[in-house]
Amino acid sequence: MSKHAPAEMGLFSPVIIRPAILQAFRKLDPRSLARNPVIFATALVSVLATVLVIREALIGSPVFWVGLQIAIWLWFTVLFANFAEAVAEGRGKARADAFRATRSSTLAKVLVDPSDRVVYGTKDVERLEPGEVILVEAGDIVPTDGEIIEGIASVDESAITGESAPVIRESGGDRSSVTGGTRLVSDWLVVRVTARQGETFLDRMIALVEGAKRQKTPNEIALDILLAALTLVFLFVVATLPFFASWSGTTLPVIYLAALFVTLIPTTIGGLLSAIGIAGMDRLVKANVIAKSGRAVEAAGDIDVLLLDKTGTITFGNRMAHAFEPAANVSERDLAEAAFLASLSDDTPEGKSIVDLAATRFGFDAAAGSGALFVPFTAQTRMSGVDLPSGTHLRKGASDTMAKLTGGALSATVEQAVRKIASSGGTPLVVARDNDVLGVVHLKDVVKPGIRERFAELRRMGIRTVMITGDNPLTAAAIAAEAGVDDFLAEATPEAKLALIRKEQAEGRLVAMCGDGSNDAPALAQADVGVAMNSGTPAAKEAGNLIDLDSDPTKLIEIVMVGKQLLISRGALTTFSIANDVAKYFAILPALFVTAYPGLAVLDVMGLGSPQSAILSAIIFNALVIVALIPIALKGVRYAPASASTLLGRNLLVYGLGGLIVPFIGIKAIDLIVDLLHLA
């Protein structure tokens, strides 16, 4: 999937790790810590623990040695969380640097008079204003985002999209936008600047991958609140515990309580939360999609209905010859030959496909058509063909036109073939030699290979696909059936599209829509998730909240996956984090209370070395598990399309039950090491 310049780095390549370690310390800045309530609480407790350890050192307390280790591991917990975030940011930064490198040109050619592209002044790109008109010539790097007002050129967009083949950009129509950072390979363009500096596409991509201006997504905010509430609950639990312990005359060292508090609060998810978010955006960029907001990515995970344009998305967009249906007493070869000759000079894709099919089937030679006179399609005749030197007229056209040309009704065989083709969604093209109808060419809208499987995948995710087409309902139904979409909107107008979106939304469904044309803009804006094609018009790109650089409408599947993965990763790690607490209780509670009530040793199901080593092992486990889970946070929890119940069942089993069991094993293992090294 990734086509970007920096080759995919290993998760822990030194290029990332070294600066991340430094960053982990920089992020100890309270202002940066305060963004994350759980880690902030951990840092506060670490400070408290440090002060306590100093005091213990001064008074020669017996818990000094273990207390010191606890304090150190508390700091490690904070640093590991910072480190996770730094690694995620570092990966994005590497990508951002690659983008920055494309912004080498610093001067733009500003036209004073847009109609005169000879006289221009130069201006620092940073100072370009929207509305200014600039000239870009072959070899230039496009300095900023804009709309082409004149000219046609081939543009190398590989810096942005990673696609090496140049694409054509021209004024008017749906391919009139250029993106800053791309390079003109040929010709020239006159471009009106559309983006303010700092808000261009490239700027957005850089900000996005760096996570610099990352705003918390709605679900992330909700999760933050829940985690903060749990932290408060545990604050009450731990802060009141010494008083309950005093009932039996037990005094609990405060440093042990600090350790208990930090192991109980959801540090695992708290520490990884922002790494998950940054990594999610990063995955999106890797899929060549630019999200204008995190909200849109999350919304993509919620999509119920996907609206897709038929042409160019589901089908190749051109009708292609599929078969020859000869009239009675005409051989297929005769029909094919006539169609072949009639189409030789026809430059339309349909014409070319007839030539191709006939040549492949019967091996005709293009030289056969030499000297023929081409009769092009006109609105008046509504047919095309050739007049051969022999005086024979070959014509092809719609059935009603041809019927008129050949004087009256078509023969029963032909009539039947026409009806059969039309009802299957194809287009019948009747071929005639002079006044004899030879038969029908079956033109067909060809569905892209593999698209059916993609729709099946969407269906497994619970997403319904609706095909939008200008075709008549009969044709639309046939193609819909072939492509495997769930529904279709035939004879669609922009108004009908908008109405369909509104109707689906009124019924409580979240709608995604892919589009590129200017007339798609209202629908893109109305849809909950609007994916604009990068090849599209600026209006479309402005209206959508996601932009696909590959202009691949089925990209939505990847976007949905990223959105879902983002939520699943958070949910799974939250569950894991909370489930961990059970084992930590079984480690720490007997350790704290066993002197008061020796019988409580039965709670020490792990058989840990000593009360001190139990507490130490729990806090070490708690810190290390953050590091251990960084890969999952960055890569995201595995997501395969499946029903919600299946997904939940699997994730509960892995992260819920796993979260219950893993710490029992982990804490016991660490305890054995702690004992071996005589750390406690």
Partner: protein
């Protein structure tokens, strides 16, 4: 054992057979379909200035409830404080001290029925009837109203109104509580409960001693104390008293009536939100927790007290504080039902339960009184857990969480998360405070870890609005009456107001259509996750202190240690 199982099955079957139709009927009451008492209803509402009741937004609904409860508190406080000046006081009891009147008034207004006083030795008949019995009705009706409003809010489509509190209050009382209480009270009288305005009668025992036997308008109060998940008994020992609960049949009927309305509410909810499966799922989650807690308490009591091995025939279980006519099964079933349903009545002394039996009873309350729970509020408390569970489940399936098609977003999570703090504050913070000030040590009866259990149970019961007690704890002091009173308020309104706000917020949302990607909230998987969430939140909050109380006591008596 087999007979015990048969008794339990009879109980469960009768309960379900009654609760299912009652739930359907209650739904008709809350939708306004049931109309046979319309003339009385309309007359009452007109008198209250609600002749044409307007649907209220959640804020107005909550304010109405608060105003009504505040008025109820003020009137009850004054009545108790000055009962000596009021009629119907055959034993000539004095007015209650201010802190006891405060505590008792809060207790009955919040449907807790914590009793810092001994009923037959403190309260006049007027206080018992006009004061307590009235609140037994209307505090339950207030809770029912909340549940009705919340169900409407969850089911609503882009509106802002939840219904009218005054209408819900009036209809609950007239259509549900009064008829049910009337029938039950008369049946109970037939089974032996006294119902008279006399205070006591004297007898000369066979050995020639004088026995003064307290009686009074018992049956009418017992009927509503059970049906309304109140629990405030007429007598000090509550339903262990032979006049409140004279035999196996009265015990069976009252045990059923404890859970009847809370169970019925599950089915009512299903109908009100237009998806009965949702109600059944809540019923199932509650059933799992109820069966588990009952089985645990039963096993602990059946095994008896190991300290008394050799002295007592352990085959009859732990009988200290229990009545012969109930035995282990009926006593433990009652304990499970009352602590699950936030009904403070007891038919055996919980303080004398084995450590683990007492622990489970306590934990039942600490889980949030959501296992059927109090009338109305049990259901809404469970819905708060549903919100949190739905959120976790939604994340884990990769969709913005939704319940009944409504997106659960930051605002709802904030409100639900807020309620997670109620139990830690009301129980842990206030109990710790009582220890720091020495108030706890002065009030507990038993030494050792059991004393801590007594303290914990008191604040647990108050915060959970349950009302039962480890009765060795002397709660009738200025300190405890005050703090327990605050706990009760916190435990009542700390849940009611957030859930009403959530309902108001969800009501305004557009319901999303159900698709294959929607996570079903009615299947076994969701029920499992819901149960797990409740247990984990409860266990994580209370395990440390339970380890120092009942668990420490348990391991101590296993080691042969007494205190």
């Amino acid at each position: 054992m087999t007979l015990d199982l048969v008794q339990f099955l009879i109980f469960a079957a009768l309960l379900l057979a009654l609760a299912w139709p009652l739930g359907q009927y209650m739904a008709r009451v809350f939708t306004g379909e049931a109309q046979f008492l319309a003339p009385i209803e309309n007359a009452l509402l007109r008198l209250a200035g609600q002749g044409r009741p307007q649907p209220q937004r959640w804020q107005a609904y909550a304010l109405s409830l608060l105003a009504f409860n505040a008025a109820g508190f003020a009137v009850l406080f004054l009545m108790l404080r000055y009962q000596n000046l009021l009629p119907l006081n055959p034993q000539g009891f004095g007015g209650l001290p201010a802190h006891l009147a405060f505590n008792t008034a809060i207790s009955f207004v919040t449907n807790t029925n914590w009793q810092s006083y001994g009923g037959e030795t403190t309260l006049s008949n007027l206080s018992q009837m006009l004061g307590l019995t009235t609140q037994n009705f209307v505090s339950a009706a207030s809770g029912a109203a909340v549940a009705a409003a919340v169900a409407r809010g969850f089911a609503a489509k882009q509106t802002r109104v939840l219904g009218n509190f005054w209408v819900d209050l009036t209809r609950t009382t007239l259509y549900i509580l009064l008829p049910a209480a009337l029938v039950l009270a008369l049946v109970l009288v037939a089974l032996g409960l006294p119902q008279t305005l006399a205070g006591s009668f004297d007898a000369t025992t066979l050995e020639g001693a004088k026995q003064s036997i307290a009686i009074g308008p018992v049956a009418s109060q017992i009927a509503i104390k059970q049906l309304g998940t109140n629990g405030g008994g007429f007598f000090n020992v509550n339903s262990a008293h032979p006049f409140e609960n004279p035999n196996a049949l009265s015990n069976l009927l009252t045990t059923i009536s404890i859970l009847l309305i809370p169970v019925a509410f599950c089915f009512t909810y299903g109908r009100l939100v237009g998806d009965r499966r949702q109600g059944r799922a809540l019923f199932a989650a509650m059933a799992v927790l109820f069966l588990a807690s009952f089985a645990a308490i039963y096993a602990a009591e059946r095994l008896g007290n190991p300290l008394h091995a050799g002295l007592v025939d352990l085959a009859s279980g732990n009988m200290e504080g229990k009545e012969v006519r109930f035995g282990i099964l009926a006593s433990t079933l009652w304990a499970a039902a009352t602590t699950a349903a936030s009904n403070g009545s007891v038919n055996a002394m919980l303080d004398s339960f084995t450590p683990l039996g007492g622990l489970v009873a306590m934990l039942n309350i600490q889980l949030g009184e959501v296992v059927y729970g109090g009338v109305g509020v049990g259901l809404t408390g469970m819905l708060l857990f549903v919100i949190i569970t739905v959120f976790l489940a939604g994340l884990m399936v990769g969709r913005t969480p939704e319940y009944l098609g409504k997106k659960v977003e930051a605002r709802e999570i904030k409100l639900a998360a807020l309620t997670l703090l109620v139990m830690p504050i009301g129980i842990l913070l206030f109990a710790a405070l009582a220890i720091v000030t020495g108030q706890a040590q002065a009030s507990v009866q038993d030494a050792g870890p059991h004393g801590l259990s007594e303290l914990l149970y008191a604040y647990t019961s108050a915060t959970g609005n349950n009302g039962s007690a480890f009765a060795g704890f002397t709660a009738n002091t200025l300190w405890h009456n005050s703090f327990l009173g605050v706990s009760m308020m916190l435990g009542r309104f700390g849940y009611i107001i957030p859930i009403l706000a959530i309902a108001g917020s969800l009501a305004a949302k557009r319901p999303a259509a159900e698709t294959a990607g929607t996570f079903p909230t009615h299947g076994p998987l969701f029920v499992t996750l819901l149960v797990a969430t409740i247990l984990i939140v409860g266990a994580l909050t209370f395990l440390p202190v339970l380890a120092l109380g009942p668990i420490a006591e348990h391991v101590s008596i296993l080691a042969g240690q007494s205190f």
